[in-house]
């Protein structure tokens, strides 16, 4: 066992139990690469980075279980050695990114719309709730409908319902070949139509993005499939295409280098572009749209929600205000009750996601 691979769940459990008794707010941290994501963190640091290591990996079962503090890069290397991958292509946003933070934030990359989200690939987890109780939900099997799906509830809950200890994930074979084609001279509206039309055909699409009038389409599959795509689909072949997709996933594309507030906007794939002044980058076949804009938060949210979407403030702007789209009254009430059900003293990442949650 490597030095950085250890089970400190008992120590973590004890710390949460103490915090519960003392009503001490905790700020759950590991690699600290997602500290900017969500509302400003407060509370005493609960460092889970020491709880690391791949617990089990069965390539023929397509299942990997890893402790929450395991670096994403370790997991990706272990999978690559067997020709497999995390099919939700998670962003890292820093070398120290861990699987726990990735799942807690439910973060997915370019492949998300074609293969599924982090939550979709989550099969089970061990966690500590706000009372310091160690719980296990889901498991290491593909199908499991015993009890409520509390494991998937943890994906995207940003640690406000529990401290993730380990996660079991479904993994997939890495496609053998890929090809990115670029079509130029397309408006946002043209690109949206085309992305949706292509997604409705039997094609091995694995990523799509539109920026500055260019539509980038990545196809992945067997050699024969990619050959047939190249033969049948128009567009210029993009050399070193992995650099391009990495730059989008890691927010390093020049588009993201700006002092203006950056918004990540989820939209129905076919929805028209919201009427907000700013610069746009569209990916996920239209399902995720990035906006750099100085427009007022309320205006952006109003324009987006009328089209069925929701907006998240990523960089810049007021991180002490509403970062995620406000919820309707009935849904908000359920959030408060669920928070109470898992974390009655309100000590886990309080107000990290929404104020007073």
């Amino acid at each position: 066992m490597a030095l950085n691979e250890q089970d400190i769940s008992a120590a973590l459990q004890q710390q949460v139990a103490l915090a519960y008794a003392d009503k001490t707010p905790l700020n759950i941290c590991a690699g600290n690469t997602k500290a900017f994501y969500g509302r400003t963190a407060t509370g005493q640091t609960l460092d889970v980075s020491g709880h690391a290591g791949i617990v089990s990996y069965e390539p023929t079962e397509l299942v990997l279980t890893a402790r929450a503090g395991t670096p994403l890069s370790d997991i990706e290397s272990a999978l690559a050695a067997h020709g497999q991958m995390l099919a939700f292509e998670p962003p890292h946003w820093g070398v120290s990114a861990t699987i726990g933070g990735t799942i807690a934030c439910n973060l997915s990359g370019p492949r998300r719309v074609y293969t599924g989200s982090a939550r979709d690939f989550l099969l089970g987890c061990h966690m500590i709730n706000g009372k310091g109780e160690l719980l296990h939900f889901g498991g290491e099997v593909m199908k499991n409908v015993a009890g409520y799906d509390a494991a998937r509830l943890m994906a995207g809950a940003m640690g406000t319902l529990g401290v993730l200890l380990d996660v079991s994930l479904k993994v997939l074979p890495m496609p053998q070949h890929k090809l990115t084609l670029v079509r130029s001279g397309l408006s946002a509206a043209d690109a949206l139509t085309l992305m949706n039309q292509l997604a409705g055909q039997s094609l091995p699409l694995s990523a799509s993005a539109w920026i500055d009038g260019n539509l980038y389409l990545r196809f992945s599959g067997a050699a024969s499939t990619i050959a047939s795509v190249q033969h049948n689909q128009p567009g210029e072949v993009l050399e070193n295409d992995e650099d391009f997709w990495l730059s989008i996933r890691e927010l390093q594309h020049p588009f993201f280098a700006s002092k203006q507030p950056l918004w990540c906007i989820a939209m129905p794939q076919v929805a028209a572009q919201p009427d907000v002044a700013g610069d746009w980058l569209i990916e996920w076949g239209g399902a995720q749209r990035w906006l750099r804009s100085d427009a007022a938060a309320e205006d952006i949210r109003a324009q987006v929600s009328v089209l069925g979407g929701h907006a998240t403030l990523f960089h810049g702007g007021d991180k002490s205000g509403a970062v995620f789209q406000p919820l309707t009254a009935g849904i908000w009430q359920l959030h408060q009750r669920l928070k109470k059900a898992f974390d009655p003293a309100g000590i886990l990442n309080p107000s990290r996601m929404y104020e007073n949650l």
Binding site: N144, A199, T225
Partner: protein, 497 residues
């Protein structure tokens, strides 16, 4: 047999006559059933061993009527059991003796189809297959395909998080829906999820999907549609022993191939299916595998060739490619008729639904064979081999006194063994009434308590489908399941009796 739910409100706050009067003020006359002969079709779901007449059955025509019924039931603290097509196999829609059975069967409109955006908005009573049929002309389909897809409805699919034979590649219901509308226990209408991906806030969609009618009433579902694959091909492989077949499955996946469907049947199931469907299955094989690949033509051609080599190398005694669409359909017909085919071998059969890490299949099949001897009851095994979901069919005769109890004990032992090897008591049929005791084996007291806290967040009075899906700690103590978890004995706070 009459199953006992955990008792809830033995004495109702309202008489049946008064309830019927008030319901008739909310719904048209033909939407309220209260005479025994009208109620009897609702006394059980697909698990007919458990029967119970509901007090009253209502069949609302509109979402507003569902809300009105829920408000009335909440006012009088009456239990409500939601029911779709009633094809469920775990007694999840078993009525409550003092409760309202809420059938969603009349909410059966496809509200809208977006062919460009590949989504459909449907009411809960729309049949699973009807969705695919409605969008077929656009080259689209809805992927989850439970074997009851001709009859089962999407509302029930969401409630059970239904799967099917294509789960390994295409996922369960939760992976194929975007949004549901839910009527709460107090009659409020909530939108859960959204037409955009990864909605803001907690993933309530994941929580509600598979919640077996315990958290709310599904009144609308927005499903995602997929393009129909360009090509699909199926290979049959016969094996002289089950372990070789199981190893072959692992080899296919290790080669980086994700089949659309990968099914296994044992000898008894093969022969029953062959008698029934004349699919041309090899009768002398100990196990057969059906492996289907779909996708782009070039991919399928490439992969099917690789699969045939892998199967031969794994020791298959025969590898047969369905040459055309007709022979492909015939090979599937045998598998899809396995349940009714086995049903002809004995007066009754009992279908189990455990999941296991696939590598333990030989071990689990050996254990099932031992138990089969011990209980003197034959078992046919049908297995979604790709995703580890096992369906042992136990043959029995319900008319023989005590035999059903024997079958239940036998089935319970199989599920407990599935948990022991790291699996689950249910892959796709749900817990319902049937597997409530085995929940005590899979989960410890703290986990069950957390489930109850979730339930309480949605339904503080416990009016929705009471007594199902999640057992009380008291019930687990009575059942006496010894689930030693993290070195602790279960339920230390409860007396043993």
């Amino acid at each position: 047999m009459t199953a006992g739910c955990d008792n809830h409100h033995e004495v109702a706050m309202i008489s049946k006559a008064e309830l019927v009067t008030q319901l008739l003020a909310l719904l048209p006359g033909d939407c309220v059933l209260f005479e025994t002969e009208d109620l009897s079709p609702y006394e059980c779901d697909g698990l007919s061993a458990y029967r119970q007449l509901p007090w009253v059955t209502v069949l609302p025509n509109t979402v507003e009527q569902v809300q009105a019924v829920m408000r009335l039931c909440h006012q009088y603290q009456l239990p409500v059991v939601a029911r779709g097509a009633g094809t469920g196999l775990s007694g999840g829609a078993l009525p409550h003796p003092n409760g309202v059975l809420l059938s969603l069967a009349k909410l059966k409109s496809i509200l809208s189809i977006d062919t460009l955006g590949r989504t459909a908005r449907v009411q809960p009573g729309v049949r699973n297959l009807a969705i695919s049929q409605a969008v077929a002309a656009h080259g689209l389909y809805y992927a989850p395909d439970p074997s009851s897809q001709i009859a089962c409805t999407i509302g029930g699919n969401v409630a059970e998080n239904s799967g099917g034979v294509h789960c390994l590649k295409y996922g369960l219901t939760i992976h194929n829906i975007l949004q549901v509308k839910l009527v709460t226990v107090t009659g409020e209408l909530l939108v859960i999820g959204s037409e955009a991906f990864d909605s803001a806030g907690y993933d309530l969609l994941a929580l509600v999907t598979g919640s077996e009618g315990m958290l709310g009433i599904i009144v609308e579902v927005t499903v995602r549609l997929l393009p129909v694959p360009e090509q699909a091909q199926v290979v049959l492989a016969a094996f002289s022993d089950v372990e070789k077949a199981a190893a072959a499955v692992g080899n296919i996946i290790a080669a980086g191939i994700i089949p659309a469907g990968l099914e296994m049947m044992d000898k008894l199931a093969i022969n029953a299916a062959e008698d029934y469907a004349h699919a041309g299955y090899p009768r002398d094989a100990e196990a057969i595998l059906l492996c289907e690949l779909d996708g782009m033509r070039a991919d399928v051609v490439d992969q099917i060739a690789r699969v045939q080599v892998i199967l031969s190398q794994a020791g298959a005694t025969e590898v047969r490619l369905a040459a055309d669409e007709q022979s492909r359909a015939l090979l599937w017909k045998g598998r899809k008729s396995a349940f009714p085919a086995v049903g002809r071998l004995s007066p009754d059969y009992y279908c189990m639904d455990g999941t296991i890490p696939r590598r333990h299949l030989p071990l689990v099949l050996r254990r099932i064979a031992e138990l089969s001897q011990q209980y003197g009851l034959a078992v046919a095994n049908v297995f979604h081999a790709g995703d580890g979901n096992l369906h042992p069919l136990i043959l029995y005769d319900a008319n023989k006194p005590g035999e059903l109890e024997q079958v239940e004990a036998f089935g319970g032992k199989i599920l407990e063994f599935c948990v022991e090897v790291g699996g689950s008591i249910t892959g796709e049929h749900g817990v319902g009434m049937e597997k409530i005791n085995q929940m005590c084996v899979q989960f410890d007291a703290l986990e069950l308590t957390q489930f109850h806290a979730i339930k309480h967040a949605f339904d503080p009075q416990g009016l929705l489908n009471p007594g199902k899906a999640v057992p009380t700690l008291h019930r687990c103590a009575e059942f006496g399941a010894m689930h030693v978890h993290h070195g602790k004995a279960p339920f230390p706070e409860l007396e043993r009796f």
